[in-house]
Symmetry: C2
DNA sequence: ATGCGCAAATTGACATATCAGTTTGGAAAA
DNA sequence: TTTTCCAAACTGATATGTCAATTTGCGCAT
């Protein structure tokens, strides 16, 4: 896994805010915190055993990555992507991954091409198993991970670090709920990825470009119609916080809530 | 001008760090601070009339955008792009702008197409005038601005906000010094942009894609060869600071340095 | 019962203070 | 003159404390 922002991996010890960043990011991507849900800097600070500042900085980083959104003095919540934005991301993704396919087709070594084909077949197998199996969230996560891995591997063999980074960054937001929907409801055509990689590992970059384009466009229109997202433009942020874990480091007592009985 | 990170422009008052971010960013893009030159958080804090924190946050933002680079306890300087990275950025740019051209060709209104053509002709005229005129830095800035404007306008008429943002963000670094170099030394083919826009405003998206690809690739190999950039891998950062303005808000007194006399 | 409004609690923003590395220039030694 | 080396100044990183804006829920009036 490469690092996302500057994670201090230039041989310096990782700053505090970076650790917070990754922990929070992980929770969001895992779906432990759902879109629209509020985050409390103080609560997280107490839980992580650090001060407000690193948390605040992590918030800002996640905000610039469009994973969080906040109003200056009101609060911070997990960002709710607008349908229009999803469409836009898919367009950007198409551009980047088509380029990635082009370059991969041109630059990958023979050994790498073989590896990519094998990965694609693995993925199709896993998809198929998932398609029948029902709702195994463990398996779903594995599929998700492998799919991500495949696309990133293609980008890697394109021999362009900046392109790879751009693809990775662009997908972050979309990916998890894309899968929550698309993966759950639809079963992909047999050999969906194998056929793609057949072309991408071939010798025609233009063909690879086109194949990748139709690949990433697959199912997008249907996806955009179902808007199962909270879709709230208003700033009612769900203060779902309540059980403060198990007293991790909480100095606060909900003294007034006892009256509510 | 759209906003870059979250600039609180959702009708909230912009945070301090954001103002600092824009002011510093402006200076870098304008070339007032050259690549490799060091920035002092304290000095800027004093000059802007704020504390270290907003400056530090602005630094981190600019760092994540690859405009600055810093070592934890040593200093922060304007980032020096590596040739390999320039190449990568150009590849990403090709992908994004080709997509932009496609969509513009498909979605722009007739009126917008006319406007784009006119802009292209204006730009060519300006380029030509600049080509003969010698080194008029005022004119150079105008050319730079108009060129940027044209490309962003194409992206706008592609009707995809995310794509436009991605292009803008990607170009930031490359653009200005690309022109500081290339524009100065080379004169572009006559009607360079007019010919491009002829195709882009046409009715064939695929052709627009290809035309844009060759357009953005023009001159890149030569660009990569000239390494006029400080190219320092080492961490000698030029401490060009000296005159601390006019005592703007400096609370420090070099009390101990008197002994050094 | 319902709508209105004020005050307490919660939120992020920021200043100040301090810390620990890094750089650097001049003194001391060769 | 040249080299070595050490301490002071400077760097960004972080903790702590305070503040103003916002939210929210309770009480009051209707």
């Amino acid at each position: 896994m490469s690092s996302h922002p500057q994670d201090g991996t230039t041989s310096f010890s990782a700053p505090l805010w970076n650790k917070a960043y990754f922990r929070i990011r992980e929770r969001i991507l895992r779906g432990e915190i759902s879109p629209g849900e509020a985050l409390s800097a103080r609560r997280l600070a107490a839980e992580f055993g650090m001060s407000l500042l690193p948390i605040s900085q992590a918030f800002r980083q996640l905000e610039s990555e469009k994973l969080l959104e906040s109003r200056p003095r009101a609060g911070t919540r997990v960002r709710i992507p607008q349908p229009e934005e999803i469409r836009g991301r898919c367009i950007v993704r198409e551009a980047l991954e088509a380029q990635s396919a082009r370059l991969c087709s041109a630059n990958a070594t023979m050994k790498e091409r073989v590896e990519l084909m094998r990965l694609a077949e693995q993925l199709d197998t896993l998809y198929d198993r998932f398609g029948r199996g029902g709702s195994d969230s463990e398996l779903q996560y594995a599929v998700h991970t492998l799919h991500f891995e495949l696309h990133m591997r293609i980008a890697e063999y394109a021999r362009c670090e900046e392109l790879k980074d751009a693809i990775e960054k662009n997908q972050v937001l979309i990916y998890n709920w894309f899968f929550d929907l698309a993966t759950n409801r639809r079963t992909l055509p047999a050999g969906f990825h194998a056929q793609l990689l057949q072309v991408v590992t071939g010798s025609d970059p233009i063909a690879a470009d086109e194949a990748m384009r139709s690949h990433v466009q697959y199912g997008v229109p249907e996806l955009l119609e179902q808007n199962v997202l909270p879709a709230s433009n208003d700033w009612r942020l769900r203060r779902s916080q309540s059980g403060d874990k198990d007293g991790h480091a909480s100095a606060k007592k909900p003294a007034s809530t006892i009256a509510a009985k």
